[in-house]
Every structure is written in structure tokens, then in C-alpha cells.
């Protein structure tokens, strides 16, 4: 379980401190549930994710994962970034093995586990290739395999498919639901797309600009995957859209330090 306890974040310290990006956020995310953070750009979604990932420390409050305070990034919380950030100097297989080898897992076992994860994301045939040879969608598949290999209890997705073409995006969304069913984990998925949230999420948290960081918290009905054009899915979309439209758009980006990594 992930617990945010009155978390605030502003960049910079002392007199150079910027405005609050997140203010007084309290959230509790249940184990193995798929949560979408939905909101306009610049409202602090990525900051929130980076706090859970451990890339950032909160200015106030606590972030707990299974009751333990987050003190830095670690393999128990896998992150898939908007840009795949595969290491270009390693083959696809070595990219997936990298995390396993850091855990001290023997080379042969690491290879076997990496191959299994590549198969799970449909990339088994590309194990020996260099990342540069892959399309954007394939790179994100490998990026997912890379964290699956670590069997994380938390998986964090920062708009992973937003740079892909529409068709690849929809297919990867469906694949992601299949993967999450096979490998249950607590998922935080950031998106600014109503469509994406309506298709993927079990629960949608609409994030707005500070100080009202949590704008809405909506539990969605159970059976997934939902048919994209079903009555139900359309209703969810109009509901989310109404919530999102209540927020200002085009929020000024954060000052020095920036919101994005």
C-alpha cells in the first residue's frame, strides 16, 4: 500500500523556494490496484510520481510504501518514463538483465528471467537487438520488461505512451492491462488523456494546481478491460471530462528546478 501523508512539495529552499507544486496531499492507494492520475500539464502529477519513486523528497509530509518511508529510488518501485531511457550501449536483453544483475542475481538466471519478461511484452524475438533499431512502441515494451524483471510491488508510469502514434498507444494500453493481470502490482499511471484514464483505470484521481492538489477521486466500475466505445466507457469519459474542464488549463510551468525530471 502507498500512503501519502500531508505531502507538500516546492522546488528550491529558503528564500529561493518556488510556489507549492503539491500542497497538503493525503492519499492512500490500495495494493495491486490500477490508479490513474489525470490532470493538465504542469499541475504536479509527475512531481507526485517522482516522490513515490524516490527521485524527489517531499518538502513536508511523508511518503510511505508498505509502511516504510521512501528515501530514494529502488527496484521495488519500477518506473516507466515518457522516454524509454533504455541504455543505448546495451542490447535489449542486457537492458532487461541490468536491474537483475544489480540485485546480485547470477548471469544465467538473470538471462532466463529477462527472456521471460521480454516474452511477456512480446519482444522475445528482439532480445539481441540494439535499442536504436527499435520503434518507440517497442522501446516502451522493453522499458516495461525491464521493470517487470525486478518483480516490483509498485509500478509507476509517467505518460509512457504519450509520444506514440494513436494506434500503437491503444494497443499498448490493452497489452498493459494484460501484463498487469499476469503480474499484479500497485500501479500509478500518469496521463493527461481522458480516453486513456477511462480505458485503463480502476480509480482516477484528478490532480489540479496547488493548493487544491486533489481535485477529484473517482472509483470506476469493476470489469476491465472496458470496450472503448461502450456506453459505460463513454459515460466515464464524460464524467472525467467534466471534472477536468472545471480546472484551469495551461498552468504556468514550475520555476527553477522544473517539474519534469
Amino acid at each position: 500500500m502507498i500512503l501519502l501523508d500531508r505531502v507538500s512539495k516546492r522546488y528550491g529552499t529558503g528564500s529561493g523556494a518556488g510556489p507549492f507544486v503539491l500542497q497538503d496531499v493525503s492519499l492512500s492507494l490500495e495494493r495491486n490496484r490500477f490508479v490513474c492520475l489525470l490532470g493538465p500539464s504542469g499541475c504536479g502529477k509527475t512531481t507526485l510520481l517522482n516522490l513515490v519513486a524516490g527521485f524527489l523528497a517531499p518538502s513536508a509530509g511523508r511518503v510511505l510504501v508498505d509502511g516504510v518511508g521512501v528515501s530514494g529510488p529502488g527496484p521495488d518501485r519500477g518506473v516507466v518514463f515518457q522516454d524509454a531511457t533504455l541504455f543505448p550501449w546495451m542490447t535489449v536483453l542486457d537492458n532487461v538483465r541490468f536491474g537483475l544483475r544489480q540485485q546480485g542475481i547470477a548471469p544465467e538466471q538473470a538471462t532466463a528471467a529477462a527472456e521471460e519478461c521480454l516474452a511477456l511484452v512480446g519482444m522475445a524475438a528482439h532480445a539481441g537487438e540494439w535499442p536504436v533499431r527499435l520503434s518507440g512502441g517497442m522501446r516502451q515494451r522493453v522499458a516495461i520488461a525491464r521493470i517487470l524483471a525486478l518483480q516490483p510491488k509498485v509500478m509507476l508510469f509517467d505518460e509512457p505512451f504519450s509520444a506514440l502514434d494513436a494506434n500503437s498507444r491503444e494497443r499498448l494500453q490493452a497489452e498493459l492491462l494484460r501484463i498487469c493481470a499476469a503480474r499484479p502490482a500497485t500501479v500509478i499511471y500518469i496521463t493527461h488523456s481522458v480516453e486513456e484514464a477511462a480505458f485503463l483505470a480502476e480509480r482516477v484521481i484528478v490532480v489540479g494546481p496547488a493548493p487544491a492538489s486533489i481535485h477529484a477521486d473517482i472509483a470506476l466500475p469493476a470489469p476491465r478491460p472496458r470496450a472503448r466505445n461502450s456506453q459505460e466507457c463513454n459515460e466515464i469519459k464524460s464524467l472525467l471530462r467534466a471534472r477536468l474542464d472545471a480546472l484551469p488549463c495551461c498552468i504556468t510551468p514550475c520555476p527553477s528546478g522544473g517539474c519534469s525530471p
Partner: protein, 262 residues
């Protein structure tokens, strides 16, 4: 194929033509002999065959220049790389020292002459010091910028995957900084090559291409000077096309992830 070869040769031919025109103009208008491409080539051939230039063989000049260049550049590259990686990893170190490196970069290579002579006296050490000072900032700044860029991407991903300490440095930071390192080295190498020749002209090294060029002023051996210029250009072309272009192409082929199909 032939067309491509001609297209490749065209700039060189144009350059030779321009040179020839200038030589004829200078000779006609000012009445002083200006070495033509042909005369320069003949002279270069004789020098290669063993005719001495400023009392020593051409090979000695070239060899001494290259040795000074590589020594000075090697020192600068090692320190610059180390600095760039350290400053990239430790932000406080960068804050404390970054401005110094940028300041060093603003000082033109030749301005180091009095400082070099005061510290080392006339001779080899002064020359090598000047070369190193010309190359260091370029390498340091470029590597640092490369590591900075890694910070938000590869290093972050590596930490998330559980990498720390040694693995982070050797498996992520070093290979990740390779493209920046290459372009830094290339910049530094160019800077130091230019300073090397100037330093040899001033610091009184007794040998070297720069020394030979400046000496030719006293002996009015301008064809000799031109032959040295040709050798300098040739070395530049060899390093650029024989070393850096292939190296960069190979790295970039693998590293250019942005801009590819997404």
C-alpha cells in the same frame, strides 16, 4: 562513382586554383615571389626526401610537434574527463569550480605565454602547459554537459533499477558520457593543435612545425613555410577523417535514440 569522386575533389581543386591566382597576383602586383601550389609540392617532396629545414629533418619537426601535442592533449583530456565526470556527479563541486573552467575557456591560448614562461621557463614544459590549458576547458565543459544530460535520464533509470556506486559509474556514467566525451576531445584536440603551433613560434622550442614556419621568416624560405602549412593541414585532415569521423559515426549510430522513429 566518377562524378562523386569529382564532387569530392572539387573544393580542393577550387582551393588550389584560388591559391594559384593569389600567388600570381601577389607576384605581379607586389613583385615578391609567392610560393605556388606546384612549388610547394616540389619543396614538400624534397623535404620528405630528406632535405633539412631549419637545420633538422622535416620528420623531426613533425615528430616533435606531434609528441608535444599528444602529451599536452593527453594530460588535458585525462584531467578534463575526470573533472567533467566528477562535477557532473557532485553538484556542489560544480558550483564551487564551474565558473573557473568557464573563465579558463575565455582566455585565448596565446595569452598563456607569459604565465607558461613564468612557471616553466622557456622550453618543452611551457609549450606542453599551453597546449594542455587550451584543451582542458573544452573537454571539461563538454563532458560535464554530457553528464548533466544523463542525470535526468540514464542515471535516474539506473538508480531506479538498483544500480549504485561502481555500477553507476562504470556501466552507466562512462558509456553514457561517451558521445559528449568524443565531441569534447575533438574540440580540445583542435584547440590545442592551433595553440601548439603558436607556442612553438614564440616559446623557442628549437624544433617543430611552428618553429620551422617562424624561422623561415629569417631565411626568406617561404616555400619551406608553405610546405609546413601543407603538412599541418594534412595532419588535421587525417585526424578528422581517419579518427574522429569514424569514431563518432560508430557511437552515434548506436546512441542516437532521440530523433529516431517513435
Amino acid at each position: 562513382m566518377i562524378r562523386r569522386f569529382l564532387a569530392f575533389l572539387l573544393p580542393f581543386l577550387l582551393f588550389l586554383l584560388l591559391w594559384q591566382v593569389v600567388a600570381l597576383l601577389v607576384e605581379g602586383l607586389r613583385g615578391v615571389p609567392f610560393p605556388t601550389p606546384w612549388q610547394t609540392m616540389i619543396r614538400l617532396g624534397r623535404l620528405v626526401a630528406g632535405e633539412p629545414l631549419s637545420d633538422v629533418l622535416l620528420y623531426r619537426h613533425v615528430g616533435d610537434s606531434l609528441l608535444r601535442w599528444l602529451t599536452g592533449f593527453g594530460i588535458a583530456a585525462a584531467i578534463g574527463l575526470l573533472y567533467g565526470l566528477t562535477a557532473g556527479l557532485y553538484h556542489r563541486f560544480e558550483l564551487a569550480t564551474g565558473q573557473i573552467v568557464h573563465l579558463l575557456q575565455l582566455i585565448p591560448g596565446l595569452a598563456w605565454i607569459p604565465i607558461a614562461i613564468l612557471i616553466f621557463g622557456l622550453g618543452e614544459a611551457a609549450t606542453i602547459f599551453m597546449i594542455a590549458m587550451a584543451a582542458f576547458p573544452a573537454v571539461a565543459i563538454t563532458v560535464l554537459a554530457g553528464v548533466r544530460h544523463l542525470d535526468g535520464t540514464y542515471l535516474r533509470a539506473a538508480r531506479m533499477l538498483g544500480a549504485g556506486g561502481k555500477a553507476l559509474f562504470f556501466q552507466v556514467l562512462l558509456p553514457g558520457a561517451l558521445p559528449a566525451t568524443l565531441s569534447g576531445l575533438r574540440l580540445g584536440l583542435g584547440n590545442s593543435w592551433r595553440v601548439l603551433l603558436a607556442a612553438e613560434m614564440v616559446v623557442g622550442s628549437g624544433t617543430g612545425l611552428g618553429y620551422a614556419i617562424v624561422e623561415s621568416r629569417w631565411t626568406l624560405d617561404y616555400t619551406g613555410a608553405f610546405a609546413c602549412l601543407a603538412v599541418i593541414a594534412l595532419i588535421g585532415v587525417l585526424v578528422e577523417y581517419g579518427l574522429f569521423r569514424p569514431l563518432e559515426r560508430r557511437t552515434l549510430q548506436r546512441y542516437r535514440l532521440d530523433g529516431g522513429a517513435r
